[in-house]
Amino acid sequence: MAQDMIRMENLSYEYNSIEGNNQLLAINNVNISVKKGEYLVILGHNGSGKSTLAKLMNGLLLPTKGNVYVNGMNTRDEEKIWDIRETAGMVFQNPDNQIVATIVEEDVAFGPENQGVPPLEIRQRVDDALRIVDMTEYKKHAPHLLSGGQKQRVAIAGILAMKPECIILDEPTAMLDPIGRVEIINTIKKLNKEEKKTIVHITHYMDEAVEADRILIMEQGQIVMEGTPREIFSQVEKVKKLGLDVPQVTELAYELRKEGINVPQDILTVEELVKAL
């Protein structure tokens, strides 16, 4: 229990329409626990409830039923809400809409400024955060002149400067070009491996899930599959039935097997396939 970063118990969330007569059950009786230091990927196609789940994780939304605990704190507890948001930082999809200030370093400082950190320590945290995401040389730049991947890294630095133990990323690569996506994925890996942050990464790109410790697949507000990337992606047919893809290499291996070539089921990377062949 103590090592759970985020724990969700019998969690349900319902959206109400304005008239109050139409309800949409976005999350349906979900139990999840995220361990400290874990790299968890949540997959699911549009409307599967994954973004709602993310917002429930740091108290931006409160559950209709059930409870969410972040590091032992219940998100229903109003007094703890700021502690919860300091513990579980959140990065959103559109980098443009989460950058507040007109200079990169001012924006990174926004979080710690809100926390009331003394100016000298803010300076230290800003420099550290920008170094981790490799954006130090841009610290005096205006955000609108940066590329999408760079903007998203600034947004991640903004969260890092708050020193959260856990970072929730809600489709951080959905609006980026392929180069930007690679930049962000490398940054996320670095955060998990070197900075020991717990990562909850929500996405619908299968290729990004390969590096995770554990994958959850959501469908209509429920967890339908759970396991390591190898366990999940070896069940090619089941994943496809859920309207999702498997990584390209895994797919290729699957097709090869169908044609009678003997390759293992759980191929995840190009190197593995090369070796097997």
């Binding site: 300091e86 809409n97 100016p119 609108h144």
Partner: protein, 265 residues
């Protein structure tokens, strides 16, 4: 078209003027504007001109750049000039049809036009030498004593920062929507004024909808980053007054005091 506006633009530099505390600069500009309206003869204009030229010189801004800021306001300046020339009564110099130009009119017109020119160049010096961030910081700090009577100083400053942050983003978006609509046959350039205004509707509707969506997302992102208003908030770069700031404001105080006093001598 939208990129030519120099008013409110920042001209980066590392001079004495750039480094002055924004609060001091704002106060100096307020003194400058007040004294400008106290002047009632041509003589003190020499000092004002001297002050402006001196400030431009020590802040390393090309004179051309400052004068460019006058361009969009040239029309207002000329209208002021013309109205004053023709509608001031006094000793007639010469007549054109029903209109007459008087000696007093000519002097009054020059006087008013100069006042406008000084007003514009003086205030644009403030924005040219102060980055938007420190300007809003300065305004927030200067207004903070009025918090007691319910003035939301922090909120105003935050709104200004966000507005400044989103100006380039929204301009880019306008451009994108415009091109998308033009690709589908929209026409923004021909027709009379009313037709043109009507044609702007397909541009404005998506722009506003997007702006509202952005505002919503930004608010959630700010909350996720623990934003809870101005209380207990610290700053990365705290404003601090040093000796130079005190010196600058004292000298300027005396200077503008002198200019105001010329009215009563």
């Amino acid at each position: 078209m939208l990129k030519d506006i120099t008013i409110g633009q920042y001209f980066p530099g590392d001079t004495f003027v750039h480094k002055l505390d924004p609060r001091i600069k704002i106060l100096i500009i307020i003194m400058f504007i007040t004294s400008l309206f106290f002047i009632d003869s041509f003589f003190p204009y020499i000092f004002i001109l001297g002050f402006i030229l001196f400030s431009i010189k020590i802040s390393d801004i090309p004179l051309k750049f400052v004068l460019k800021g006058l361009k969009p306001l040239a029309l207002i300046i000329s209208i002021t000039f013309i109205i004053n020339v023709f509608f001031t009564k006094g000793e007639v110099l010469f007549k054109i049809g029903p209109l007459s130009i008087t000696k007093e009119g000519l002097s009054q017109a020059t006087f008013m036009a100069l006042r406008l020119i000084f007003l514009i160049t003086g205030t644009s010096l403030l924005t040219l030498t102060t980055s938007p961030i420190s300007l809003t910081d300065g305004i927030e700090k200067l207004l903070s004593p009025f918090k007691k009577i319910g003035l939301p100083a922090h909120e105003l400053a935050m709104m200004m920062t966000i507005a400044l942050r989103f100006i380039p983003t929204l301009l880019e978006e306008t451009d994108k929507i415009m091109k998308a609509q033009m690709a589908r046959g929209a026409d923004f350039e021909s027709g009379n004024v009313i037709n043109r205004a009507k044609n702007l509707v397909p541009l404005l509707v998506p722009l506003f909808i997007n702006a509202f969506r952005r505002a919503d997302e930004l608010a959630i992102a700010m909350e996720a980053r623990c934003y809870r208003g101005g209380e207990n908030r610290t700053r990365l770069n705290e404003l601090k007054l040093n000796k130079q700031d005190i010196l600058a404001i004292s000298i300027m105080g005396i200077f503008f005091g002198f200019i105001v006093s010329t009215r009563y001598i």
